[in-house]
Assembly symmetry: D2
Homo-oligomer: 373 residues x 4
């Protein structure tokens, strides 16, 4: 199966309501961190502002942020980054009436029925297949994902968002390390726990004291994650620990070896934390978003916190350097329908949810990409 | 809060496409239990067939069943009840083209947005509120339910479908018994387990050997449900057991005392079973449906099997004796979104899901109706 | 990885408390279907009764049933099969005091810590690894399962219990058909839905109207399962339908082709049902148990109803024809911890739970056994 | 029902193994943030170190932290607070062998069976009642909780940990405000979302744009939470916003009015954030722990992140000012068994899990305490 990126159809700017639309209204921020009354909040969709009579696309976006205009260019910023006097687009209509166009049709090549559209027979069985549940058939999604990843390895930027669960399992930990080695990973977002368990796996061959292959509990194994953290803190950094302790397997090792950037965002549930973990959530957000600005595919595995955080900052489109507009593919893989549906109900055709255990998911992906024997 | 039943707007039979529609095509069943090619399958909605130039409403319906026409009247029957030669409506269009009208608009007084309709900002937070989840606000649903039940006590027929869970808890078991005493229950559907645990509660003050008030485990308490079943079998029936063993509390006692009919459908997971439990699933279905034919409100609590079974046989409307058409209100209460959404995605405005523990639900309802101190 | 069946260590009948134990007390059943006062209820463990001074093992057992003694042999029967006058073992002690020995130690070669045993540090992370959850590492379980299935193909009898979910997915449906073809399946328990969706897959290449490979919805696809059922009813049996309609793929086809017996137990939620589905739950139970009497491994996939039903009738041991006693391995695979833990908390070391989507599980098993490319 | 705090039985220090135990070994930290080799990690239990021949109790503790000894007193500190040269207790035995006593028996007045202890009949029904699930009976837990809260209002310090879910519902939001007003709340831990939705409720009578009483969606309601945040940022603080905007209802208003301290911990999924939210996770942890040092009861509602964070820092005991040692009661209320069991498997008798929707829980508690009409 080969993969073709869905092409983008720009708006018809010759349409009367767009041609005759006024310029967007810009108002200065009254204070640092505060938007002016009536500010426009951005969405996940491509949005255009009319500036000096021209429709200008926001080259990057983030839902629920504001559009700051500087020198005719649009910068989409979080409220906490607003500076007093920033010129911020105002208006709460979306079809050009106030010079703002929220454009939801760019990738609608497919003539899909709207979810929720009436189906006269009203058969509940029919209806429930529209959402994603444990009873959805997922093999087509797997096949598309393998093809997408092959494409993205050459042409895209794939961000993986990892919960800690699959580092407990030697097999899936190895599988993901091989996926990194093979070049399918451009950045990783995770928390202190994923890194800690993975490094414990390298240092003690356990996760939380349990052998990652045989699942046997080791005596005093509940010290292992603390000893690991303490040892990394002793060396002062994860890469120094990897070097000095001759770590040669696992996810963090593969990331360091392949120079794949990672963002470890701290949280209030952390022990330690490891050196390199961001204590400040908003600093972590900023670094995460610097990767999302490049992302063409995002794959989130078994972490509600990091998945929602990433989903919040991921637009549905990407403007490539040559100006091409393409979709950002967004996958959420979790064992709970609640999490999956929370993320994929974004109104974007490029969002996919898969309801399964991520250990199995990552093993399938490793086999599907041919990196596992 | 008082309750007003949503009024029904009949179809406009003067519209050209209905006025000029042909009669429905009737074909004889080729064999017992087998429908003719091209049979029409019914839905949960009011459906009309054109018979001898007149649009005739099916006074009762069941999804995925066939319409048998006898003497100008429509009988909606399961495939297993088809007799060779039955005249069955055929056609798979739904707007009159073949004399069949599936009428989904009868109760649409409310100008609700369609679920899934585009909301230009594409905010995921907005979207997820449309489904039912643990994060949905439910107090309005509770208030409406209390008002509905007050109304139905006088004017309706309320079928309760009970999973076994809340019989484990003395408080909620009592609460439901009081709701029965107060007249809010017209029929109960349940399985062998609900009845067994409830009778164990009456006989030993335990459920599966655990005190239903203090939750202490009793010595050899795992014999209690077996001893209860054995004793009921000894007496030969539940009512005889209640009489002979001087049972004076619980759900089964309240049902017997108030002459409220109940259907206990057996399943392959049963011990026993108790006398009176239907071993044959389809015989149970038939009796269940005989109650559903009268039901104006159905409330399903924490049982996926019985809830789906009941949902499958419940239409969205009821034709009262005076010919009035009214909605059937359908509630599904379960702790799992998976179950709730499976049931309420029926395309009927009168379906409601509540995601909670049914013990708490029933205690709230008891207090809301004023039957609990 | 090769597989060795855990050997059985019989009780030490020379121990004083067993040597001096009295004969088991037998009392006649007072009525059909009713056990005498003080009857003994069987467990999942090997149990011995002292009869005429000899300890006799129940060669087959079922939890919560009674032991009927006929001609010095023990028959473990459901209450519904008791006949008036049957001699039934009585007594509620379990260490020989009343001639009854419930023997839980036969397979304890492993020196495992008891679940829940005190671990002085009291670290919650440690504790939660003892149960089975989405965060348990499962690859060891997979490896053991592959080895077990290789062993059982030659020496055992493997019963698979199937929920409907994976028949929605062409890939996992094919995978299971190949597992059948390769001889790893000795019997299948399922419901009307699994068979219906699978045959719809063969007849229309859909499940509930959705293409099983591409997941596209077909026009009027909600008729497909009804049309399939109607057609099977027309031919009168599943095998006749397969023959006459030239069905050549899927699970039912593989079962018929390989003469693997299957039990389809009906339930109150069924449409149809298909010919061959048991309407009577207790008749279905009896046939299921006739297979379980031979089972050495049971694998339950994504069906709470059938899994609990099967778990209820499965003992932890099997007496082979040559008198060898061996464990029965029992797997429960489900996406919900609630279901998995309900089944595997049986006090049997041979029970395993795996928390995942069964589509992924079956694909892994197919690959692990080498039957998928 | 009245409440009696479980009394504490100190260790028998006259026992030979404790009398003859050596002093605890103290080693200096080699660097800031790094513990010496062989450090001892603390647990949730009361722990004693032998210092200068005397057994000294750690008056406060935190699992997985180290014991720093200063002037004969024990301070339990996170790794990140270790300073080079701190004298840290070392040793990984727990019964006095190295001068460390982890004392798990202090509150064992009750002669409960160990969870997981063998129950010879091996009945699965019996076993599953030991954990907490949707099928556990909870009314005894409710009754105990009401009595506990009455006691704690006079004698304790109750920390509530709140997920955002119940602020969506006007009724439960009011209920909790009344519980605060009545004096049952000594501190609140929450995130940016809870405060935002609650203030949106005060400002717009909506949560995420949906009316908190009628659940109707308001036009452009997806702006409401942003407008609320923006307005709070405009005023510079939550209390100033409450004052200037004349907020007179809700949770934050009740906290401010009653001078109940709260900790809002930021996370990577935040919009905004509101002024006063901690951006730094570890600074938030420190403030949270300053409250936990006083806590006698902790009640966590529907937030896995904050619940685990709080659970990690909460010991099973509290040393009151007069030296009395008492348990800390810890409740986890969530709709998911996964979350509940993760928290309550702590080996502490004073931990309780309740599986339900927190909206219903809080309404029950309000009624049980008599603060709701």
């Amino acid at each position: 199966m080969s993969f073709a990126v869905t092409p983008y159809t720009p708006p018809d700017f010759d349409a009367a309501h767009l041609r005759e639309a006024p310029d967007a209204r810009l108002k200065p921020a009254p204070k640092d961190f505060v938007a002016p009354e009536g500010y426009h909040a951005m969405s996940i969709y491509p949005e255009y502002l009319k500036l000096n009579g021209q429709w200008v696309l926001a080259r990057d976006s983030r839902m629920d942020c504001v559009a700051v205009v500087e020198d005719g260019e649009i910068f989409v910023r979080e409220f906490r980054h607003i500076k007093k006097g920033d010129l911020i687009a105002c208006g709460r209509t979306e079809h050009g009436e106030e010079g703002i166009l929220v454009y939801t049709e760019g990738f609608r090549e497919l003539d899909l029925p709207e979810p929720g559209a009436p189906h006269p027979g009203g058969h509940d069985n029919f209806a429930f297949r529209l959402g994603r549940s444990r009873e959805t058939a997922f093999s087509r999604d797997y096949d598309e994902l393998y093809a997408l990843l092959e494409h993205e390895r050459e042409h895209g930027y794939v961000v993986w968002v990892l919960g800690p669960a699959f580092s407990f399992n030697g097999y899936s930990r190895d599988a993901f390390a091989k996926i990194i080695d093979a070049g399918y990973v451009d950045a990783v977002f995770a928390g202190n726990a994923l890194a800690t368990h993975d490094l414990e796996g390298a240092y003690f061959h356990t996760a939380l004291g349990q052998d990652i292959d045989t699942q046997e509990n080791r005596p005093n194994g509940h010290y292992h994650h603390l000893d690991t953290i303490n040892r990394v803190r002793y060396w002062g950094s994860i890469d120094k620990f990897i070097e000095e302790e001759h770590v040669h397997d696992g996810i963090m090792h593969a990331l360091e070896k392949n120079h794949v950037p990672y963002v470890l965002a701290g949280s209030i549930r952390d022990d330690g934390p490891l050196p390199g973990v961001f204590g400040n959530a908003y600093a972590a957000q900023d670094v995460m978003r610097s990767h999302i600005r490049k992302a063409t595919t995002v794959i989130c595995l078994a972490t509600m916190l990091h998945t929602i955080a990433t989903g919040n900052m991921t637009p549905s489109y990407r403007v490539l350097e040559d100006g091409t507009v393409r979709p950002v593919y967004f996958y959420c893989v979790d064992i709970a329908e609640f999490t999956v549906n929370k993320l994929v109900d974004r109104g974007s055709l490029a969002s996919r949810g898969i309801v399964t255990n991520v250990q199995d998911f990552i093993a399938h992906v490793g086999k599907g990409l041919g990196v596992l024997g």
